[in-house]
């Protein structure tokens, strides 16, 4: 049981990092990213290919994946410079995300298409004993989660963090005050993209096998749930939100063990209902989420 909790905690860590990226892009920057799944897949595939085809070690593969997703996200923000409305930008990201997912599915020569990439190596996989490895991976994941949180906290409290929120609240006011809104948007989306790349790398390292079926739009739903439940714009809340979503998702599987009369097909049907009802109850009870975003106090 302890091993399972450790492994699920690792999943919570990279889900939380993904949710933090969305929180930065959408929660703080107001840039809705409905292409999250595609960018997440890009990060996972970039890291896996750098390891499998270019022989890079995990560290450089993750850095490479962060750079690739960061640049692609930056470019998306750049080419949509005239799309400042939240809704239209969301449609563009949805299209780009779907395009990335289809590339992963169809470019067999690079991604092995529907078969996916197997045998993705893990950092220090040979030097750490198999029964100890999960502890190492949990420690690494927690360190990366904490590092991402600390970085975003620093950004939020910096002058750039204020610009990020100003662009979200009213980009015309920000531009009137002499701020370069386009460049700010490019940076917001690229920074978020790099963090998505990190989460994607962790996904491929954890599962050691990636294929296009792992990157469906349910990933977007879970990330948005985490941000909304945590409180839009609040980093700590987002981490908590990602944890709650994962507890609801994986914890609800144990209902069958606790209530033996519950059938597996009945459970699979009511699990999603339980998750939905849980989130609705949470939003009724706490409509602004667990925490509120950081505000500079006068």
């Amino acid at each position: 049981m302890i091993s399972f909790l450790i492994l699920m905690s690792i999943v919570v860590c990279f889900s939380a990092i993904l949710a933090l990226a969305l929180n930065f892009q959408w929660g703080q920057g107001g840039m809705v990213n409905f292409g999250l799944t595609g960018f997440y897949a890009l990060g996972a595939y970039a890291a896996a290919l750098l390891m499998l085809k270019a022989g890079a070690n995990t560290f450089f593969a993750a850095l490479g994946a962060m750079a690739v997703v960061g640049v692609v996200c930056g470019l998306v923000a750049l080419i949509t410079l005239r799309v400042t409305e939240e809704d239209y930008f969301a449609i563009v990201t949805l299209g780009v995300g779907e395009m990335l997912r289809l590339l992963a599915l169809n470019e067999d020569w690079l991604t092995k298409g529907a078969l996916g990439l197997a045998g993705i190596p893990r950092p220090f996989g040979d030097s750490i004993a198999p029964d100890q490895y999960q502890y190492f991976l949990l420690g690494l994941s927690l360190a990366l989660l904490f590092g991402t949180y600390a970085f975003l906290r620093l950004v939020t409290r910096s002058p750039f963090g204020r610009l990020v929120r100003a662009v979200r609240e009213d980009d015309v006011v920000a531009a009137t005050l002499g701020k370069n809104v386009l460049w700010a948007r490019v940076r917001i989306f690229a920074i978020g993209g790099a963090i998505i790349g990190l989460a994607g790398s962790m996904h491929s390292i954890y599962y050691q096998y990636i294929d296009p079926t792992q990157f469906t739009n349910i990933v977007i739903a879970y990330a948005f749930m985490a941000v909304i439940a945590g409180g839009r714009g609040a980093h700590l809340g987002t981490i908590l939100g990602a944890g709650v979503v994962m507890v609801l998702l994986e914890g609800s599987r144990f209902l069958k063990d606790a209530i033996p009369r519950l059938d597996s097909d009945q459970l699979s049907a009511i699990r999603i209902i339980i998750i939905g009802v849980g989130l609705i109850a949470l939003l009724i009870w706490k409509p602004k989420g667990f925490f509120q975003e950081y505000r500079l106090k006068a």
Binding site: M1, F4, G113, A114, T216, G243, G251, D257, D265, F290
Partner: protein, 408 residues
Amino acid sequence: MQKNRRHVIKSIGAAAASAIGAPYLNLAHAQGASIPIGVALPMTGNAGAYGPDMAEAAKRTAAKINAAGGVLGRKLELFIEDSESSAAVAANLSQKFINVHKAQALVGYWGTPEGMSSRPIAIQNKTVLMVSSAANAITEGDTQGYVWRFQMKATDWGIVISRATIDKLGFKSVGVMGLQNAFVLPIMKVFEEKMKAAGRTVVDSLIYNPEQPSYRAEVERVFGKKPDAVFCFGLLPDFVSIMKEVYRGGFDSKVVALSIMADAEGKFVQAVGPQVAEGIRHFQPMPDLAAPGYKRFLQLMGAPADRVYLFPPNTHDQLAIAALAMEKAKSPVAADWHKEIIAVGNGPGPQVDDIAEALKLVKAGKPVNFQGAGSTCDFTPNGDQIGRGMGQWIIKGGKSVFVEYAKP
């Protein structure tokens, strides 16, 4: 505010603790005298139609084994979960089966993504993984004897379909449409190679993406070349869209597909109506309906004699082979009993198709060659199943009429 926040965190903590702690309530039950087995089946997702019957087969098979005295004097305890037809969910389930329930056998695993994502987990944890998926890659490479396929390998599907086409169906020109999917591509490759080698014309070969709102462009491209027949390899949702386009376009080419597309427990005809479905031929690996093992399985399921189950017999065979191998190795530990899988599946020994009888022989120290419900349960050393055949049907008046059964 501060108080309120603490209250929220406390409540969430309590909810998390109760969800996570729930299995401990049952832990003695899970790890006591029983032998835990993880069963991952598609209850939802694109293969959701198949999970419930496979779950029922697993329960009835385990009950039969337990009624016959169990394995090593212990009862089998199944942990059946929904794989959601997803690779990531299946991987998380495998971790749960191994780490929470201490399962030494992972059975079910209908699709290739589920099998591929759980393969490294099974090998690393020295746990036997038994899949129903077809893609060749599942058993390729070094599996250390922990990965076993209870299904015909994808390339063999192509061999049987092309042989039936060349020898009996007489199509001179064919078009091929295949879903971008790991088990489809090897079927297409072999099928096209065999057709060309036999001097038949492949007018077009097209790979399409899943979940498109329409397949009009793809249908017009392939059917527009007017081949004698178009072979479609994919899954139910895409085939329903394809056939609606074919009917709307008024194309004359015959259509040949897989049964998971053109039958799918009757869901295809329900979706498109008998008029659109009329005349479609479909192939699928299946049990030998005349085999005594299959007839016995129908009795176990309480099903009528003409009922065709495609996948539940595989689940039955997975549990039966696991039970026999454990009994033969005198150990429920996978690192011991995985070495006995070929011995109980391939023989030598008398052919026995009843799991209770086979267990009795193994308990008495006698050899046995188990004949399953889905196949003869013979394996190659790398874990591929041999001895499973393929059925062919044609849809007439909204019903699938059986044509023939053939082995690769």
